[in-house]
């Protein structure tokens, strides 16, 4: 662990010093903020909130090739593994919730079957967090799910905006390495820096408007109302667009499919793409039988995964309280409201 400060006026030099990395910095687009690697941007805009598509896409891309297959002249089959390039990347402006989400995703892609594609990128990724001095969304509720606007979980560095400078806390070796690329830019901290940082953190906490009370009671509650008609009522407006899951920083479900480029000789590739539990065919067997046949069972799956199953598996929520699914759902299905009603259901 290493604590320093850097003047905002020196920030561009730091970014420039990171030549051996692909650097992603938030860029304003007409649809919102995006993590961009266009090399033009050398600072984090003061009105930056958070990216519409969470940083997961840089570690677990929406589409990726597993391998290519090709029939060879003696009718054998050649498989060519397509692994992510060996290229280290740095992501600036990772909000603490999104950092915690990466940590949750690590649990899924690790374990007894390690996902090589995920870990190739993950190991080459340095996450530079930015504490929120203002909640990026009116729907932020990180405090209710064991996070905070200055959580360090999953991050390599946490920056805190102190006006003319950042408080820089390097949390991992990867983080320290990033500081060592331009050591002269970083200053020793003073007690005043530390005081200011604490103040910013506490103030931010007070600005969070939304709360999901008693989240740790939800696992039992969801179990208790699993078979009730609660879910029918809550899900009846769902359009099955999948936005709530595609843009969720912790959702990891995917599909695997083959794409054929040529039939004779056979040539093509196997790809993985993001998928969602909100699509009916996600679970539909070839026979037409579907264990989650309606909106109710699919909404229940989304929420039970985040607030029951993940807790049973890893003792943590699979929701980091970023509020994206609330802000972006076209029909206003609000996870805080649904879960609050779930808690009170039958009372």
């Amino acid at each position: 662990m290493m604590e320093k400060t850097i003047l905002k006026s020196s920030f561009p030099q730091w970014i420039k010093s990171l030549q051996s990395f692909k650097v992603f910095i938030p860029k304003r687009e007409n649809f919102g903020w995006e993590l961009s690697s266009n090399n033009q941007i050398l600072e984090i805009a003061s009105d930056y909130t958070y990216p519409v598509v969470p940083p997961k896409k840089l570690i677990f891309p929406q589409e990726e090739i597993f391998f290519e297959f090709e029939q060879n002249p003696d009718n054998g089959i050649e498989l060519k593994e397509v692994l992510p390039e060996e290229s280290p990347q740095v992501i600036f402006g990772v909000r603490p919730c999104d950092g915690r989400a990466v940590e949750a995703m690590d649990l899924v892609f690790g374990g007894s079957f390690e996902d090589l594609y995920y870990w190739r990128r993950r190991r080459q990724t340095t996450l530079v967090g930015l504490a929120c001095h203002q909640p990026p969304s009116e729907n932020c509720f990180c405090l209710s799910v064991e996070g905070s606007p200055y959580s360090e979980d999953g991050l390599d560095i946490l920056l805190t905006d102190l006006g003319d400078r950042y408080f820089v806390k390097a949390l991992t070796e990867k983080g320290e390495k990033l500081l060592s690329e331009a050591p002269s830019l970083f200053k020793e901290i003073t007690p005043k820096d530390r005081e200011e940082k604490e103040r910013v953190h506490l103030e931010a906490q007070g600005k969070i408007k939304r709360h999901l009370n008693g989240a740790r009671e939800l696992p039992e509650k969801i179990k208790a109302i699993f078979d009730s008609n609660f879910w029918d009522e809550e899900s009846s407006n769902c359009l099955r667009c999948g936005i709530c899951t595609y843009l969720c920083p912790t959702c990891h479900c995917f599909d695997i499919n083959d794409e054929t480029k040529s039939l004779a000789p056979l040539r093509g590739r196997r790809i993985r793409t993001w998928d969602t539990c909100q699509f009916p065919d996600f679970t539909m067997h070839s026979s037409g039988h579907n264990p989650r046949p309606d909106r109710a069972s699919r909404l229940r799956q989304r929420l039970a995964h985040k607030f029951l199953y993940f807790i049973l598996l890893y003792d943590r929520f699979q929701c980091v309280g970023c509020g994206r699914c609330i802000s972006l759902c076209p029909v206003g299905i609000d996870i805080i409201e649904v879960l609050t009603r779930a808690r009170n259901h039958g009372k």
């Binding site: 498989l79 593994e81 374990g111 390690e114 090589l116 083959d258 093509g268 067997h285 070839s286 995964h305």
Partner: protein, 274 residues
Amino acid sequence: MVNNVYLPRIGEIIEIKDEVKGARPIKTFRVRLTDGPIFSFRCGQCAMLSVFGKGESMISISSSPLVTDYLQFSILKMGRVTSALHEMEPGNLIGVRGPYGNGFPIESWKGKNLIFIGGGIGLAPIWSVLQTALLQKDDYGELMLIYGARTSQDLVFRSELQQLKNQIPVHLSIDVAEPGWSEFVGFVPQNVLDKKPSPQNAIAITCGPPIMIKFVIKALKDLGFEDDQIYTTVENKMKCGIGKCGRCNIGHHYVCKDGPVYSWAQLKELPQEF
């Protein structure tokens, strides 16, 4: 070098047998791996088979782990992948990755009577246990098979079943009467009630269509079997086979990894999403 879990090994189909013809055809495939010996596995485990250009399907290994020359799969033609498999000929190449799933806890069944209850293609995973128990007959008590299908032409492993009758009691059934059929007519659960296997020191292993399993379990309970004496397998749509793609779950269990084998004692505690 870390193993790439998504990269299949190449398997060569060495033998294909037509089990069932007609609208719902079933074929049995024997496959060897082109790059070396087959992997070791447990009864009830599965493999992801690929037809390159079509995709992958999870299929139970129906041969016994004691047979190491080949892997055997019995496959019902359904959609893209299974139809492509049905088009194949010996010598054709497929992808194989696995083994996946937990398998049956057959070590803990030593000394017990085993009652196998199957319906249709559901005989495939059972077959692996049955063959193993036959090869290690001294380790187990009495064996019995109760097996049924819609018609006599829908029964798989027909010639093997005839031979099996010389070794253990085999009770076949078909759903509706046919000329020349001398065995039970009716559904598998009814045949179970008719044959009344004793729960004494016994384990019942049942696989088949979900509706059959449901009523077989009920029949077994009526005969006095305890929940932890009944084992079954769960089938859910699968893609990754390793607990990551998120679709095959029942509650916090990923059937591909934590299943597909469950005792009824375990399964009844989980959400019934299968």
